[in-house]
Every structure is written in C-alpha cells, then in structure tokens.
C-alpha cells in the first residue's frame, strides 16, 4: 500500500500549503491594518490638542473613531450622539476644520494620510471637548418664528394641500432639516455677527412662510426684516455647500430677501 501512503502524504502537504497560504493572507491583512492619528480638541478649560492612536477598520465613521477613543483610550472625552443614522442631528463636529455629521461621514473620506483632526462645532459655546451648547441655535430657531402659527381649531376640517403649487414646492424643499447646526457652524456671517439668526432658522422661516397651513406670514416677514434677519446674509453659500442633507438654505434666504423687498415696495417697510 505504498500508493496510499503517498496519497496521504500529498494530501497532507497540500493541506499544509493551503493553511500556510491562508496564514500568509491573514498576516498580510494585519500588516496593512494600520492605525489612525486622531487629533481631538479638548476644552474649554485647559484647551489643548490631544493625539490618539486609533486602530483603522474597513468600515469606520468619524463617530466610530471618536467612540473608540472614549471607550478605549480616554473615558473622560465628552461628545454627543444619539441615532447614528443621520436623523437626529446630534453628532455634528468640525472635521479637519469643516462641519460634518460625523455618524454619516466615512473616515476614509476625510483622512489626510492617516491623520484627522476633530473639534467642537464652530460658532457655538463649548460645554466640554466635542460637546457644544446648542441653545443659541435653537433660541434663534424660535426667534425667527420657527413655530406653528395655526389658524384652525380641531373642529375645522383638515385643510387641503396642493402638492403641486409653487409655494408647497418651496416649503417641501426645506422640511428635511434635522437641526444639526452644520450650516450654522459653516456660516461666516454668524461668526462675525452673533445677532444673525443664521441659515437654519431663516430656512425654517421661509418654509413656514410658504406653508399654506401656517398663518404667520406677517410675523415672519417682520422678524426676518429686523436687525438679525435675512438681509445680513452675504450669500457666501457655506450653508448650502456643507448641509449634509443637501438642502439649500442660501436660496431660502434669497427667497426671504425677495419677499421682504416686495413688501418694502408695497407697504414702505
């Protein structure tokens, strides 16, 4: 049974060879699996830039990177997130100097070599590390009449909406805003003018102005014509360029400027 022994030998060496190949492939994978140099802005007290060594994975968002640091390197790192799927608007941060929704930003999109710098959103007070105080952002949302101005009671029939009207199309254009404050952080006018209501609040005002269910037309026009209103906008367009939902606040603000200009000629104010 010489042949049997030979076959067994060949089979076993084939197996060894295959195992060796698999091991080699695994080794190669490990060798290419590099790490990321992640610089995180810590603050506001004892403000400093801190570099963390974070393992790189095939699928990794900026939020995953921040979470890895908090869970494995420094549990005192503060940041904010909730849904992780781009709906809640909690996790926006400055990534390499520009505002982004971190849960939907793949790290490979923003890496500079193997480096990335992550900081708190611009134009808002820092609470700690990557968590900012969103109060000014939401206060301005309300100040810009971003509230429902109802005219009907529960006894009235539900108002019919013409989905094809141009007003409805204007209103629809802005309703997917998730209040992430990326546009607010991107806006250079907000940076130079703390009274300015900002792109998100003004876009909401434009949406409500065009919503046939909302009866706040006069109140909205009044507030957006004021000193913090739409006329401060220099149309630099960072809001539209950085909006993660690809909305267009700049055009919404241009709409408010047109509407207030018409009202100026009609009523002299």
């Amino acid at each position: 049974m010489k042949n049997k022994g030979l076959i067994a030998f060949v089979e076993s060496s084939n197996r060894l060879y295959r195992d060796e190949k698999l091991n080699l492939a695994a080794d190669l994978r490990d060798m290419t699996k590099s790490s990321l140099a992640v610089t995180i802005e810590r603050g506001p007290v004892d403000h400093r830039m801190q570099v963390f060594d974070v393992p790189a994975y095939d699928n990794q968002t900026v939020l995953d990177v921040v979470s890895w640091v908090q869970q494995n390197a420094d549990p005192t790192l503060s940041y904010r997130f909730a849904c992780r799927v781009g709906m809640c608007g909690s996790c926006a941060m400055m990534v390499n100097g520009v505002p982004r929704w971190t849960c939907r930003t793949h790290i490979s999109k923003v890496l500079d070599g193997n480096k990335v710098t992550i900081g708190p959103l611009r134009n808002l007070p820092i609470i700690k590390d990557l968590a900012v105080d969103m109060d000014p952002f939401f206060d301005k949302w309300v100040a810009a009449e971003g509230v429902h101005h109802g005219g009907l009671t529960r006894d009235d029939p539900i108002a019919a909406i013409d989905e094809t009207s141009s007003e409805r199309e204007e209103a629809n254009a802005g309703i997917e805003c998730i209040n992430c404050s990326v546009c607010y952080a991107a806006c250079d006018t907000v940076a130079g003018n703390s009274n300015y209501l900002g792109p998100a609040a003004l876009q909401r005002a434009w949406t409500l102005l065009n919503d046939s269910k909302d009866e706040g037309y006069a109140a909205i026009l009044e507030i957006v014509s004021g000193s913090g209103g739409c006329h401060n906008c220099h149309s630099m367009g960072s809001c539209t360029a950085y909006c993660p939902n690809e909305l267009d606040p700049m055009s919404a603000i241009a709409g408010l400027k047109r509407e207030t200009a018409k009202s100026f000629f009609k009523r002299g104010r």
Partner: protein, 115 residues
C-alpha cells in the same frame, strides 16, 4: 445688523450705479481718444446740467451704497456697535459725498477753474 431699510437703500443705489459706471467707462474711453486734455473735458462738463445730474446722482448713490457697505464691515470685522457704528456710517457717507460733490461742482458750475 443690516435692517430691511438699509438693505433696500444699498440695493437701489446699486441698481442706479450700474448704468452710471457703464456710462462713465464709455465716456472715459471716448474722452482719451487723441490724448487726455483738461480743456476738452471741462469744455464738455462746464455749465452742463446733464453732466451735473449724471455725476451728482452718481455721487449720491456711491455715498449711500459705500457707507452702508462700510457699516457692515465695521460691524462684522471691526466690532463697532450702537451709536459708534451709526456715527461711523454717517461720517463715511458724508465724507464720500463731500469729496464727490466738490469734484462734480468743480467740473460743472464752479467759476475760475480752467476757464
């Protein structure tokens, strides 16, 4: 810090300035054919109500437009606020007007220059 009224003044003066700038450039190109000559220019403008109104309105528009623009810059980049900001706007506007109006007056109705 730009209210609707200031915004409208700035936009309306911009609308006015557009044809003035084009007219001014056209006249400049026309006037230098065959060399730049003071007598030729004054000959065209002196005593002319048309040129007085053309450049007079131009100067008013520039003063308003420029003062409002400088006001925005002073507020956003210079941090001026309140009455200081308003004073800055008025001084800039009146200053621009004084410089422009003097020039317009000199080449149209002032006596004794180039005559």
């Amino acid at each position: 810090m730009l209210s609707l009224r200031l915004y409208m003044f700035q936009r309306i003066t911009a609308l006015l300035m557009a044809p003035f700038v084009l007219g001014h450039l056209a006249v400049m190109i026309y006037a230098i054919q065959g060399g730049l000559d003071t007598a030729e220019i004054l000959g065209r403008t002196q005593g002319s109500l048309l040129w007085f109104l053309f450049y007079g309105t131009f100067v008013v528009a520039v003063s308003i437009h420029g003062a409002i623009g400088l006001r925005s810059i002073a507020f956003e980049w210079g941090g001026l606020k309140g009455i200081v900001l308003e004073a800055f706007m008025w001084i800039a506007g009146l200053g621009l007007f004084a410089l422009g109006a003097r020039a317009v007056w000199t080449v149209t109705y002032a006596q004794g220059i180039g005559a």
